[in-house]
């Protein structure tokens, strides 16, 4: 396969934990600028796949390339984050004791070492960037609010905002609408579609309505490898997918 125009390229990736093969000969290719939805039953290896891409877990075998030429298996979380891969966790993970603004300020692209942080002064440029992001993630009126006081859905948006502040090339978004109301879910679909206009995005989600709303190519994982790939209609018509979801 040619990886020159890909943002993410996984080939023959396997990883096992204590003999359990969480990922089994997984191959997945994401083109630059593409948004992809990944579905699959519990334990299909969706989160493990993200762990591999973001450097949290090292694969036992297989190739993982970012942007066509960077071998991700040779880098750790912080390096991979700096290259331009942002990750949202399944459970919204924000800095609860900080204000929304400070959460974004810590995520803004910039030097990541101790001494610049110690003597850092907020600049007008940064404030503008934070304003922009607050607008995109619909939290414009929550700037001073402590993150702990946000609703569950707002925390999800804040976390997505933190990814945007990193200015990544690729966003990995794990279950963005879990625990959201219907209205919030719709808003999140719009938000992700906005973001996908100038970023590559991988969305892991269980909620089929939400995936339909996104209207993108779908990959269904099962037992650590790709079961089916195509439009949502194609995938959901696939007998094997139905079998996996409904049980044998």
């Amino acid at each position: 396969m040619n990886k020159s125009n890909t943002i993410l390229y996984l080939d023959g990736v396997s990883v096992s934990f204590d003999g359990f093969r969480a990922i089994n000969n997984l191959s997945l290719v994401l083109d630059k600028g593409e948004m992809r939805a990944i579905i699959g039953p519990n334990g299909a290896g969706k989160t493990t796949m993200m762990d591999i891409v973001t450097g949290k877990t090292r694969p036992d075998e297989g190739e993982v390339f970012f942007d066509g030429q960077v071998d991700l298996t040779r880098h750790d979380e912080a390096e991979i984050a700096m290259m331009g891969i942002g990750r949202k966790f399944q459970k919204p993970t924000v800095f609860e004791s900080h204000s929304v603004e400070d959460n974004l300020m810590l995520a803004l692209k910039g030097p990541r070492s101790i001494f610049p942080a110690l003597f850092h002064r907020a600049s007008a440029n940064e404030a503008r960037r934070i304003d922009d992001i607050l607008g995109v993630v619909r939290l414009g009126d929550k700037r001073e609010e402590t993150a702990a006081n946000l609703s569950h859905g707002q925390k999800q948006w804040l976390e997505i905002g933190m990814l945007l502040a990193q200015d990544p090339k690729l966003l990995l978004v794990d279950e963005p609408v879990a625990g959201m109301t219907d209205a919030e879910t719709e808003e999140t679909a719009r938000l992700l579609k906005d973001i996908a206009r100038d970023h590559s995005v991988v969305v892991v989600e269980h909620d089929m309505h939400f995936v339909r709303e996104l209207g993108v190519k779908v990959t269904c994982l099962h037992e650590g490898s790709v079961l089916s790939e195509g439009t949502l209609d194609f995938v959901s018509a696939d007998e094997r997918v139905v079998e996996v979801y409904l049980g044998r």
Binding site: E77, L118, T146
Partner: protein, 407 residues
């Protein structure tokens, strides 16, 4: 609301700094310039005692930086304190010169006694104050750096980290007990005569040491507040609350922790160096794991993550200890243990946190009664209490954030 809270915490820190600077001037004056018959006279033993407490307060503040703001519960901070103390003690030993019992101009008494022929290499340079002062900073700082580098890089956290810090101080305790380590074995270093040419026993020297401790503590409060308020300080709290999030944002959480841990160890070392000339002895007992645990109790009692709290806690608990060990010496450890349990159960945010809660409740009540009065014609609006954890230095209120493990 937040700006108000910010100002409130700021004002408290400023008040603490001013109080310490005032004490640095007033206490020596009341000791030296007032006649012993006067009601305002402060006897020398009180000056020495409170000076010692200020060193403990600096140690508790050092622990607060790592425990309160970064969630690193170090049970070995006493080791950094003791190392700073030993560095100062070595200088004081070299100052004795030929006035020792054996009259050896180079070798301290214990070395003559143990048949040392010459000064061990690591005692070189300690006859100069500047060198000793440098070692006070460098030795604890270097140990913390090396220890932290390995521990944080291997991602040792939580209770496991606490246990290895405890093991570190215990290992040093055993090492310093040995006579052939060259630090005086279980007797430690004592019989000091001069510091910078002044007699350590003299009232004026004791007052000066008291002032030095108070000024150093004030400076440490200022530096800690500045660190905590910077972007780095916010990052430190972010690592405490959601370490994996900081990693996936590209920060190196291990470096963030390592910096705070090293700075904290240096502060602890300075505290030890100020402590030794005031108590007149340093021995391996200072490495006792129980000492380090006591520091944790002071910090918890005062309120961690508040800067002012640990200082209040250290002063209160130690004053209590001095009183209690005079009245019922054999029960002190039980009282201390009971205090820790009581604080954990009843005052999870310590004395300062309780004060904040009480204040915000009083304010809410007052606002509620005002609103009730105003609602004669309009509808009453319920005042909402915004609660947050130590976002700004010194501010605590209810409902602390849960540490969040990623997924």
């Amino acid at each position: 609301m937040i700006t108000q809270r910010f100002l409130g915490a700021d004002r408290r820190i400023a008040a603490m700094i001013l109080a310490l600077l005032a004490a640095a001037v007033i206490v020596p004056l009341l000791n030296l310039a007032v006649s012993p018959q006067s009601a305002f006279y402060i006897p020398p033993y009180i000056v020495a005692l409170v000076g010692k407490y200020l060193c403990y307060a600096l140690l508790a503040l050092a622990l607060d930086l790592v425990w309160g703001y970064c969630g690193i519960l170090s049970l070995g901070h006493g080791a950094f304190f003791a190392l700073g103390g030993y560095a100062m003690g070595m200088y004081l030993m070299r100052q004795i010169g030929s006035r020792g019992v054996y009259g050896n101009p180079i070798l301290p008494d214990f070395m003559v006694f143990l048949n040392y022929k010459e000064l061990p290499w690591f005692w070189y340079g300690f006859d100069h104050f500047w060198f000793a002062a440098l070692m006070v900073l460098a030795v604890p700082g270097l140990l913390a750096f090396v220890f932290g580098w390995f521990a944080f890089r291997s991602r040792v956290t939580g209770v496991y980290l606490s246990i290895i810090t405890q093991a570190m101080t215990y290992a040093l305790l055993l090492a310093f007990f040995r006579n052939d380590m060259g630090f005086g074995g279980n007797n430690g270093l004592t019989d000091f005569k001069d510091i910078l040419g002044f007699n350590v026993q003299a009232d004026a020297t004791r007052s000066a040491l008291f002032s030095a401790s108070a000024v150093t503590l004030a400076l440490a409060v200022f530096v800690t507040a500045a660190i905590v308020r910077s972007k780095y300080g916010k990052l430190l709290m972010a690592v405490r609350d959601a370490e994996s999030r900081t990693r996936f944002l590209g920060w190196r959480a291990e470096n963030v922790k390592l910096f705070a841990f090293t700075v904290s160890a240096i502060m602890a070392g300075i505290a030890g160096a100020l402590y030794v000339p005031q108590v007149g002895i340093i021995n391996p007992g200072e490495f006792e794991p129980a000492n380090s645990i006591e520091v944790v109790i002071w910090t918890a009692v005062g309120g961690r993550g508040t800067i002012v709290g640990p200082i209040v806690g250290a002063l209160l608990v130690n004053a209590g200890k001095s009183w209690f060990t005079g009245v019922l010496p054999e029960f002190w450890l039980f009282a201390l243990g009971g205090l820790f349990v009581a604080v954990t159960l009843l005052l999870p945010k310590g004395v300062v946190g309780m004060w904040d809660n009480w204040r915000s409740q009083a304010k809410a009540l007052r606002a509620a009664s005002l609103a009730a009065a105003a609602s004669a014609e309009t509808e009453a609006s319920q005042p909402k209490i915004v609660r947050s954890a130590a976002r700004t230095p010194g501010a605590w209120s209810a409902a602390g954030p849960e540490p969040q493990p990623a997924e």
